[in-house]
């Protein structure tokens, strides 16, 4: 293994490593635009020039493989001068529209100019005008003038999605990044080009002019859009809440996780957070009286529901009670539900799976057909009908139609996605007590007698288990909307009211109890999960790696 010296630090790295990677390993950050660890190396931006002793000229750190005995200087006078020169070159035709540019604040051109540039422009010529504010796809806005031709986005479309929409056309100072004539940047992962664009050339249509990036706070989380469980950062605006009409979550950005999503995420997940601040959110417990919804306090809601549940159980027995949990819930919510329904109420008819009639889009990269983030977790906790020798969802609906089911507790589901509209309506209308617990209203919640508001994924702590058995944490980014509470809190409070208290105070308590009780989670604890998650017992990392075959 070659030994090299970078800025008087000696390091031994694997053969084939480039200088920029070696420097990264010892915490030296060399400026870069075109280099991205997830893409091929082209060495076109020239900002990463470093001095390597006994080489006549400066070398690009991203493309130079290490050799034994190499001595590299990443920040001496010569290198800094070169960086300044490169920046000056890149900025010759770059417009000075930082005030209107959405990238301002997270722009690498701005950052490096402040670190290394700070020269007075020598150019008196007019800047070359190119197209501004050009929508090149459903999600992406292109500003050709701002592009520094690093080709990251081109390589992303060539190498990651292999859809080849983008290219660099023309020559000299007229060189321009554009989609292939007649084509749009409309692949399922197009949002990633915005993330990797180091400048403001590609910006997000959805995020455009909504807020400034320096108002945003990042909270690490996991995408709830499908069972892949891509790691994300939730960007939310705590500083200026009046921006964007009170929409609290501004955008989602992928978070690096080598085992799951690497640097990427799909557009479906990226823009799938709108329900968090949608008008359809249930913000307070409510009850339907003579066709009208009426708001309740939590105290009253829990009292009334508990009384009714008790009455039905007494009159008709546990067999007349059906529970439809949801793989949208966190492990904690599911476990608290299991405790509540199985131990407090001794109900057996518990199921969570509603197979969607329309199959979701799936590919061999990040998108899975199962659009729930925690199906695997629900299975492992033992909540499918088979585990409980109870009724399946379809059977429950059938029983309801035949008046055998007197109470139904539905979490999150929109049953119309799995069953015909009339069927659901007929079945639910015959049940005496339908309780819906969820974040947003849907056609099922409209058929319920009670609606309980549940906190959405950005409003609570908890864990999801992805399709490969990886348990990953989500974190509370914003306060729950209105009166909503995490699912496990609702079940805990109900259980307490019905005479059996659960000693849970935060999500970690529930998870630790879950880890003690459920075999697949044995040995885990909330503290152990970490930023990249941990695998459940009996799962090998390789199953996941296969998923990422396309990336490598």
């Amino acid at each position: 293994m070659p030994k090299i010296t970078i800025d008087s630090t000696e390091i031994e790295v694997e053969k084939g490593t480039t200088v920029i990677q070696a420097a990264e390993q010892i915490g030296i950050d060399i400026p870069r635009y075109c280099y991205h660890p997830g893409l091929s190396i082209v060495g076109v931006c020239r900002i990463c020039l470093v001095e390597i002793e006994r080489m006549p000229k400066l070398q690009v750190a991203c493309y130079t493989p290490v050799a034994d005995g190499m001595v590299v200087h990443t920040n001496n006078e010569k290198v800094q001068q070169a960086r300044r020169a490169v920046l000056e070159f890149l900025l010759i035709n770059h417009p000075l529209d930082c005030p209107v540019c959405d990238q301002a604040g997270e722009c690498w051109l701005q950052n490096f100019y402040m670190q290394h540039g700070l020269y007075d422009s020598k150019m008196v010529e007019d800047k070359v005008k190119k197209q501004k504010a050009l929508p090149i796809g459903p999600n992406v806005m292109l500003d050709s003038e701002r592009c520094i031709l690093c080709t990251r986005c081109v390589r992303f479309c060539d190498e990651i999605t292999e859809t080849h929409e983008l290219g660099i056309f023309n020559r000299g100072d007229h060189t321009e990044l554009l989609p292939y004539p007649g084509q749009e940047l409309d692949n399922k992962y197009s949002g990633n080009t915005i993330d990797i664009c180091p400048v403001g050339a590609l910006t997000d249509k959805d995020f455009r002019f909504r807020t400034r990036v320096w108002y945003l706070t990042e909270t690490p989380s996991v995408c709830p859009g499908c069972s892949t469980g891509c790691n994300i950062n939730v960007h939310h605006n705590d500083h200026r809440p009046y921006k964007a009409g009170g929409i609290r979550v501004s955008r989602l950005k992928p978070r690096y996780n080598p085992d799951v999503n690497q640097w990427w995420m799909c557009d479906e997940g990226r823009y799938g957070f709108t329900q968090v601040d949608a008008d359809s959110r249930i913000v307070a417990p409510q009850k339907k009286t003579r066709g009208d919804w009426q708001l309740l306090s939590w105290q009253d809601a829990i009292d009334e529901i508990a009384t009714k549940i008790k009455g039905i159980l007494k009159k008709h027995g546990a067999d007349a009670f059906g529970v439809i949990l949801s793989p949208q819930m966190t492990n904690e919510g599911l476990f608290a539900a299991k405790r509540f329904f199985q131990e407090t109420l001794e109900v057996e008819n518990i199921d969570f799976e509603v197979v969607a009639r329309e199959k979701g889009y799936a590919d061999d990269f990040l998108m899975k057909a199962d659009k729930n983030p925690n199906s695997e977790g629900a299975k492992k906790i033992g909540l499918s009908a088979v585990d409980n020798s109870g009724l399946e969802v379809a059977q429950m609906l059938a029983d309801a139609k035949d008046n055998r089911l007197k109470a139904l507790y539905i979490c999150h589901h929109n049953l119309e996605k799995g069953f015909k509209k009339e069927e659901v309506k007929e079945a639910l209308s015959k049940v005496d007590l339908v309780i819906f617990q969820g974040t947003n209203q849907n056609s099922t919640s409209n058929l319920a007698n009670y609606c309980l508001p549940s906190a959405s994924f950005v409003e609570k702590d908890g864990t999801f288990t992805n399709f490969a058995g990886r348990v990953q944490e989500i974190h509370k980014a914003v306060e729950p909307l209105g009166e909503s509470k995490p699912d496990w809190t609702i079940f805990r409070n109900l259980s307490k009211r019905l005479g059996k208290s659960m000693p849970y105070f935060e999500a970690g308590d529930v998870f630790n109890a879950l880890a003690e009780e459920v075999d697949a989670f044995k040995g885990l604890s909330y503290e152990k999960i970490g930023e990249h998650g941990v695998l459940l017992n009996g799962h090998r990392a390789s199953t996941e790696k296969e998923m990422g075959a396309l990336v490598a």
């Binding site: 005030p99 504010a133 002019f209 400034r212 320096w214 200026r240 009046y242």
Partner: protein
């Protein structure tokens, strides 16, 4: 230097305090009697110069405003009458009182402008008139040169300036300021100007 040298021990006379108190009383009493006399003389029209007070009787008389004085904000316009502001939120960001509220709007018709404020509110109830917003503005869209100092309202909401109002404000009027090139006041005419008439 030894720090104790700073404090001379007081003499007995000084320790009594009474002489110091009396000299203080003497000073203030002299002002009192001098001013009392001057006021009486003025009231009897025996003497016209020399005031018994330095007070300027606002609002009948106004002090001159210096051009650099920071007064109520206004927004500047482009030639076509649209606001110069590009809603970059620099002023909003730098504002230490957090009294500026901007909501941006997209203008696709004119790619040269691209971004403009949909609403631009300043809550003068919070504003501390530090002028950072003027400093921060990259396009010279906000200025504090209206010369308007009398800012009051009966409601909190009334203290909020909206974009329409600020766009229609004019810079400080000349009658407030009369200076030579060196910045000296040309005349004190302003003192005689009774604005209530």
């Amino acid at each position: 230097m030894n720090i104790h040298d700073k404090y001379k021990p007081l003499t007995f006379w000084e320790k009594l305090y009474l002489p110091a108190i009396i000299s203080g009383l003497w000073l203030t009493s002299m002002h009192f009697f001098r001013n009392l006399t001057l006021h009486i003389l003025r009231a009897l029209r025996l003497r016209k110069t020399a005031d018994g007070a330095v007070t300027i009787q606002y609002p009948e008389f106004l002090r001159p405003l210096f051009p650099r004085l920071r007064t109520m904000h206004r927004l500047t316009k482009r030639d076509d009458g649209t606001p110069r502001c590009v809603a970059c939120m620099m002023c909003e960001t730098v504002c230490p009182a957090k009294c500026i509220y901007i909501i941006a709007d997209e203008k696709l018709e004119n790619p040269e402008i691209e971004k403009m404020p949909e609403s631009f509110d300043i809550d003068l109830g919070l504003c501390i008139f530090c002028g950072y917003c003027v400093e921060a503005c990259p396009v010279d869209a906000i200025r504090m040169d209206t010369g308007i100092l009398e800012i009051s309202n009966l409601t909190r909401k009334g203290m909020v300036l909206d974009m329409e109002t600020m766009l229609n404000l004019e810079p400080m009027q000349d009658r407030y300021v009369k200076y030579t090139k060196e910045g000296e006041i040309v005349s004190q005419e302003y003192l005689k100007q009774d604005l209530s008439k």
